[in-house]
Amino acid sequence: MIDLTCHVAGVPFKNPIVMASGTFGFGREYGQRYDISSLGGISGKGLTLNPKAGNEGLRVYETPSGMLNSVGLENPGIPYFLEHECAYWETLDTVRIANLGGNCLDDYVQGALLIQADHDKRVALGQVVIDMIELNISCPNVKEGGIAYGVKTVAAQEVVRLVRQATSLPLTIKLSPNAEDLVGMAFMCEDEGADAISLINTISGMKIDVHRRSSVFRNLYAGLSGPAIKPIALRMVHQVAQHVKIPIMGLGGIVSATDIIEFIMAGASVVQVGTYNFMNLNGGQDLLEGLEQFMLDEKIQSLDEIRGIV
């Protein structure tokens, strides 16, 4: 019997496969295709305090083995989410992670306070709908906030500290591969009381239309994801895992069971799957089956046997 269970920040995951923010909506669409409660967890679409329209113009462009996106955190805002999406989340038997973005420090803090207040209210009624907050200080596609906090450790420290104070929910910080000092950033998160680290967000990239002589994106730059970034993500997860004690949710270009195994071997506790959801609408289900088969074939009883062995 294979044991796929994992723990991150005291939260039990039935398996290590978590759907990454921004690629899975709030789960409803994929939930119509397969039982998403079979997954380890889902991280919902990035939420900001107020509704956000996202970026104008082209929002996606394919690259060799990857894609650039410039969605710009389009979302309905936290109050809408709490009122309209939580009822669906309540029906799910999987770890539900609210991804929190922001334009400024106060947005992050107010957002965390709203989620916490809603959580407390529901706990009093015997409900838990949000199991964890993922703090997104690393979106490259929003001008204010986002990446500005994700690059500088000092700027990030204040956000992490204040959000940590605002919520007692387990907290994972989604870090940017564009951080000026990634290990220093991870240390800071650990020191400030974060429970886990999600690593990596998309890598800032660019595509130029040579006929129009301009970037294809209104924001000039966009976020690169997909298998093209997997070697970088894997290296970063390995590097950070050597230095911090808190668990890592590893992500970046996972499209197969062996990709998952690589991240676990690099030191990740669980993994997140993003772009693959677009390549295969039943991706979560297929990866889970593939992972079980791989472990059977390789006679791996539990992921603890191989976690961080490289």
């Binding site: 669409e29 997909g226 772009t275």
Partner: protein, 231 residues
């Protein structure tokens, strides 16, 4: 998973592909097609051109890596179909005009079969194609090569206008709807890039007067006056 029955070039860079299987869908809906493994990353949203008993047809233009791979498919080759997705064209009544530009003619053939008295207006930039099948299902068929087919349409003659084509053409339709002060219901089908096709990724987001909508699930068909088409 389907199997290609035929894949025929009908014009420069334009192909008509027939895939076997009992696929469903209403006019104006689309499928996400994929005829490769992991790369290119994204499947391609392609409108339903026609559905007959045991096959579904797609008309597509080779514009990039994915559609180039479609063009290489031979009878018997496997192809993955996910769908049908999207809202499709609404039911319309009375005198109907179907207006297509370039590869935007793709969803209109299936439409025309269900609206046998509709007038069809097709605009092409270089060369007209598939006129014979369209002629067989049209009340009246008008074509324009190299010009502006919109100029040939009297919006006031119609109760409903269903259109699909490039961005500039859809803008021209919006403009003409306003200027003519017609009472026709005007619907446009948008050709946006998509990633998931099912409403999760927000890549295909459309600016509307009452906020953002998704081309894949709220559309691809929108009331023309509802959408903000930017330059």
């Amino acid at each position: 998973m389907g199997k290609v029955i035929s894949n025929t070039q009908v014009s420069d860079q334009v192909y008509l592909m027939s895939v076997e299987g009992h696929a469903g869908g209403r006019t104006g809906q689309f499928y996400m097609l994929r005829a490769w493994g992991d790369y290119p990353i994204l499947s391609r949203p392609i409108s339903i051109f026609n559905i007959s008993g045991d096959s579904i047809d797609f008309l597509y233009q080779v514009v990039g890596e994915g559609t180039e791979l479609f063009a290489r498919l031979r009878p018997g080759d496997p192809i993955s179909l996910e769908g049908p997705f999207g809202n499709g064209f609404p039911d319309v009544y009375g005198r109907v005009a179907l207006v297509g530009g370039g590869i935007g003619i793709a969803p209109l053939y299936y439409c025309a079969q269900q609206l046998p008295n509709a007038d069809i207006y097709l605009g092409f930039s270089k060369e007209a194609y598939l006129l014979e099948p369209f002629n067989q299902v049209a009340g009246k068929l008008m074509t324009n090569v190299g010009g502006f087919i919109i100029d040939d349409i009297d919006f006031n003659q119609y109760d409903a206008i269903l259109a699909c084509g490039p961005h500039g053409m859809m803008k021209a339709i919006q403009r003409k709807q306003q200027q003519s002060q017609c009472t026709a219901e005007v619907y446009i089908s948008l050709e946006n890039r998509m990633a998931c096709g099912i409403g999760a990724c927000l890549v295909c987001s459309v600016s509307c007067h009452d906020g953002r909508k998704k081309a894949c699930t709220d559309g691809p068909v929108f009331a023309a006056e509802e959408v903000l088409l930017h330059d």
